[in-house]
C-alpha cells in the first residue's frame, strides 16, 4: 500500500519535473527576450535589464537557471502578466477554480446520466431501445462542442430568454472571491441573499455545463455499454446464472463492478477531453475560467501568462489522471499490488 503510494508519487513528481522543464524551455523558445517571458516585465533601460538578469540568475548556466526557476515556482513567485501587470499566481488561482467548477459539474452529469443509460442499453443489447440510445449517443458524439454551445445560446438565451447568456453570476451580486469556487464563495459571503445568489449562479451554470456534458455523456454511454456487454459474455456470468441467482442479483453483485473497473481509466482520459471542451465553451460563455484566460493571453501575446497557464492546466490534468489511476489500483483486486506504475 505504502509502496504503491510511493511509486505513484515518484511518477507524479517526475512528470511534473518534465512539465516544468518544458515550461522553462519556453522562456527561450518564445519570440521575446528571455527576461521578459520569465518575469513579465519589459525592461525600460539597460540598467533595469541588467538588474533583472542578475535577480533571476539569467547569466548563470542553464542548470542553475532551471534550479532557480523551480525554487521560485515552489515559492509561489510565478512572475507577472505582461499585459495586466498582476501576479500570475493570483490570476490563475482565480481562473482555475472556475474551470474546475464547470468541469466537475459536467463530470457529475456525465456520470449520473452516462453510466445508467450505458448500463441499460448494455443489458438490453441489440434491442430497439439499445439501438435508439446508441444512435443518439453517436449523433451527440459527433456534434462539435462550439457549435452546440452557440446553438444553446441561440435557443435558450436569445430565442426563449430562459437562461442567462454569459458569465458566472449576475453582476448585481457582489461575491468577494475567497476560494475561487463560486458556490463556496457564496456560502462564505456576507450581506448577500444567499438563496437568490445560489439559484442565479446555478442558472448561469446550466448552459455551459450542458454543452460540455453532452459530448462526454455520449462517449460515456458507449464505453459503459461496451463494457457491460463484454462482462455479460464472460463465463462467470453464465456460472452465476446457473447458480440460480436472479438477474438483479447478478447485475449488482457480478456485472456492475466488473464493468465499471475497466471504465475508470477510460474516464481519466475523458476528463482531459472534458477540460479541453470546457476551455472552448468558456470562451463562448465568457466564463472567467482558465480557458478563457489563456485565449485572451494568446490574443495579447502575453508570453509569461501562456507559460504559466500551460503549466497550471497540465499539472491539473496529470494530477487527476494519476489520482484516478491510483484509485482504480486500490479498488481493483485483480491488479497486482506490486506491478509497476503507469498511466
Amino acid at each position: 500500500m505504502i509502496r504503491i503510494l510511493f511509486r505513484y508519487s515518484i511518477l507524479f513528481s517526475l512528470t511534473l519535473l518534465s512539465l516544468s522543464a518544458l515550461s522553462f524551455s519556453l522562456i527561450y523558445l518564445f519570440p521575446a527576450e528571455p527576461v521578459t517571458t520569465l518575469t513579465g516585465i519589459m525592461p525600460q533601460n539597460l540598467m533595469q535589464h541588467e538588474a533583472l538578469m542578475n535577480q533571476y540568475h539569467l547569466n548563470n548556466s542553464i542548470i542553475v537557471q532551471f534550479a532557480d526557476y523551480l525554487s521560485e515556482l515552489f515559492a509561489g513567485n510565478w512572475g507577472v502578466s505582461l499585459i495586466s501587470g498582476q501576479p500570475l499566481s493570483e490570476e490563475i488561482m482565480l481562473a482555475l477554480p472556475a474551470t474546475i467548477e464547470l468541469s466537475a459539474c459536467a463530470m457529475f452529469i456525465v456520470i449520473l446520466v452516462g453510466i445508467p443509460l450505458g448500463c441499460y442499453s448494455g443489458l438490453r443489447a441489440y434491442s430497439a431501445t439499445d439501438f435508439t440510445i446508441n444512435s443518439i449517443s453517436v449523433t451527440a458524439y459527433s456534434v462539435p462542442v462550439f457549435w452546440l454551445a452557440v446553438l444553446f445560446i441561440l435557443t435558450f438565451s436569445l430565442q426563449f430568454g430562459w437562461l442567462p447568456l454569459s458569465g458566472r453570476i449576475n453582476l448585481l451580486f457582489d461575491i468577494p472571491p475567497k476560494t475561487g469556487f463560486l458556490m463556496i464563495d457564496i456560502l462564505l459571503a456576507e450581506n448577500v441573499d444567499k438563496a437568490a445568489a445560489f439559484s442565479d449562479a446555478l442558472l448561469h451554470l446550466i448552459l455551459p455545463v450542458l454543452s460540455i456534458a453532452f459530448i462526454s455523456t455520449a462517449s460515456m454511454i458507449r464505453i459503459t455499454r461496451r463494457s457491460i456487454i463484454d462482462v455479460l459474455n464472460k463465463p462467470f456470468i453464465i456460472a452465476a446464472r446457473s447458480k440460480g441467482l436472479s438477474s438483479k442479483q447478478i447485475f449488482f453483485r457480478h456485472v456492475l463492478r466488473n464493468a465499471l473497473l475497466p471504465i475508470l481509466p477510460l474516464m481519466a482520459m475523458q476528463i482531459t477531453t472534458l477540460i479541453t471542451n470546457a476551455m472552448i465553451v468558456e470562451t463562448l460563455f465568457s466564463w472567467p475560467g482558465i480557458g478563457n484566460w489563456l485565449i485572451q493571453a494568446i490574443y495579447q501575446r502575453d508570453y509569461s501568462a501562456l507559460r504559466m497557464g500551460m503549466l497550471a492546466v497540465s499539472t491539473l490534468v496529470v494530477m487527476i489522471t494519476i489520482a484516478i489511476d491510483l484509485f482504480n489500483r486500490l479498488i481493483d483486486p485483480s491488479r497486482e499490488k506490486y506491478e509497476s506504475v503507469t498511466i
Partner: protein, 331 residues
C-alpha cells in the same frame, strides 16, 4: 421417474449468416442415484448440453426439445422464477473453465456463501446466520479437499492455482446439497492423486446421498471406474447410450468402438509397439457439418444409407443410432 429426462434436444445457434444445428436430437436421462457419463471428443457438444440444461443461454441460441423435464416438470415451459429455484436448490453445475467461471472481483469465500441457499442456514439473527454460513462454507471446502481454507476463502480467483479453482467450483455446486450434479470435466488437468480424491468424493456422495451425477468427460478410465451408464456423443448427435458394462463389453456403434479402441487400457490383447487404432480424419467444425449421420465421412462402415439420419434403435435399455451397427453383418 428419472430426475432429468431429455428427449430430442435440438440446439440451433444463429450466427447471423447461417443457422447451425449444434445439437441434433440429443437423448439423455439421469436417474436419481445414477452416475451417467457423457463422453465425446472435444467439439462434440458436451459443454453445450451442460449450458442448455443450466439455462444460461445466449439470446442467439434456440433450444427445442420434445421433452426436457426435471422430476416430471417441464423445464422449457416453466417460469423463469421456478427454473431458477430448481437450479438454486436441486442442480449443481461445475463448469469446464474453473477460473474463468469465478467472478474476478469477489473473494472466493463470498462467492461460496452466495451459492448457499437460505434454507440451509440456521439461526434467526444476522450474526448467527453469518456464523452458520461460514461454518457450512468451511465444511464444504474441507470436503472437496482444500485444507487451507483461511487462505483460499480470502483469495481472489487470479491468485489461486487451477486445481484449487476446480475444487472450489465443485464446492460451489455441492454446497446447496443438490439432487443432481452436472460436472463438466471436473478433473481436467488434475494430477492423478487429486483426481482420484475428487472421483472418490463424487462416488461417495452418489452412494450416501444418492446424488445423481452427469459426468461429462473424455477421460475414459475415470468414467469406466465410476459411472453406471454412459452416453456417447459425436458432433452433436447421440451415438449410443446404455449401461456401462454392456457398452464396454459390446459396443454397437462404430464410433463407440473406435473410442474404446483408442484407449489402450481397454484393449487387453494389444501387442507391444503396435499402432493404436483411430478413425481417419478429425471431428468436423460446426460450420461444416455433414448431412445425415455426422460420423459418415469418417465411418469405416458407412454406406449410401448414411446420408439419412439413422433412427434410434433399442435393444433392452441399450440404444444406438446407426444404420449398420456392429452386431449386424455388413450388407
Amino acid at each position: 421417474m428419472p430426475l432429468l429426462d431429455i428427449k430430442n434436444l435440438t440446439l440451433e445457434i444463429d450466427t447471423g449468416t447461417q443457422v447451425i444445428k449444434a445439437l441434433d436430437k440429443i437423448n439423455l436421462t439421469v436417474n436419481s442415484g445414477e452416475i451417467r457419463a457423457l463422453v465425446g471428443e472435444s467439439g462434440s457438444g458436451k459443454s453445450l448440453i451442460v449450458q442448455a440444461i443450466s439455462g444460461a443461454t445466449p439470446p442467439n441460441w434456440n433450444i427445442t426439445a420434445d421433452r426436457m423435464s426435471w422430476n416430471g416438470n417441464n423445464l422449457l415451459s416453466m417460469s423463469e422464477q421456478k427454473r431458477r429455484q430448481i437450479l438454486r436448490k436441486d442442480i449443481g453445475v461445475v463448469f469446464q473453465h474453473s477460473i474463468a467461471s469465478l467472478d474476478p472481483s469477489v473473494t472466493l469465500g463470498e462467492q461460496l456463501e452466495e451459492s448457499l441457499p437460505d434454507q440451509l442456514i440456521e439461526g434467526s439473527w444476522f450474526w448467527q446466520r453469518a456464523q452458520s454460513r461460514r461454518k457450512v462454507v468451511i465444511n464444504t471446502v474441507h470436503k472437496v479437499g482444500i485444507k487451507d481454507h483461511e487462505h483460499y476463502l480470502r483469495a481472489y480467483p487470479h491468485q489461486i492455482p487451477t486445481d484449487i479453482g476446480q475444487k472450489l467450483m465443485l464446492a460451489m455446486a455441492l454446497i446447496s446439497q443438490p439432487k443432481m450434479l452436472i460436472a463438466d470435466d471436473p478433473t481436467r488437468g488434475m494430477e492423478t492423486t487429486t483426481k482420484v480424491q475428487v472421483l472418490k468424493l463424487l462416488s461417495r456422495l452418489n452412494q450416501t446421498r444418492s446424488l445423481g451425477i452427469l459426468f461429462v468427460s473424455h477421460d475414459l478410465l475415470a468414467i469406466a471406474s465410476m459411472s453406471h451408464t454412459m452416453t456417447v456423443l459425436y458432433c452433436g448427435q447421440t451415438v449410443e447410450s446404455g449401461k456401462m458394462k454392456h457398452i464396454r463389453k459390446r459396443p454397437l456403434h462404430p464410433y463407440t468402438k473406435a473410442l474404446m479402441d483408442s484407449a489402450p487400457s481397454f484393449s487387453k490383447d494389444l501387442p507391444p509397439k503396435s499402432q493404436l487404432p483411430t478413425l481417419a480424419g478429425t471431428i468436423p467444425t460446426l460450420q461444416h457439418l455433414p448431412i445425415g449421420c455426422r460420423l459418415g465421412p469418417r465411418c469405416p462402415r458407412a454406406q449410401r444409407a448414411c446420408v439419412n439420419v439413422p433412427a434410434v434403435r433399442k435393444i433392452h435399455d441399450h440404444s444406438y443410432s446407426c444404420h449398420f451397427p456392429l452386431h449386424r453383418e455388413k450388407v
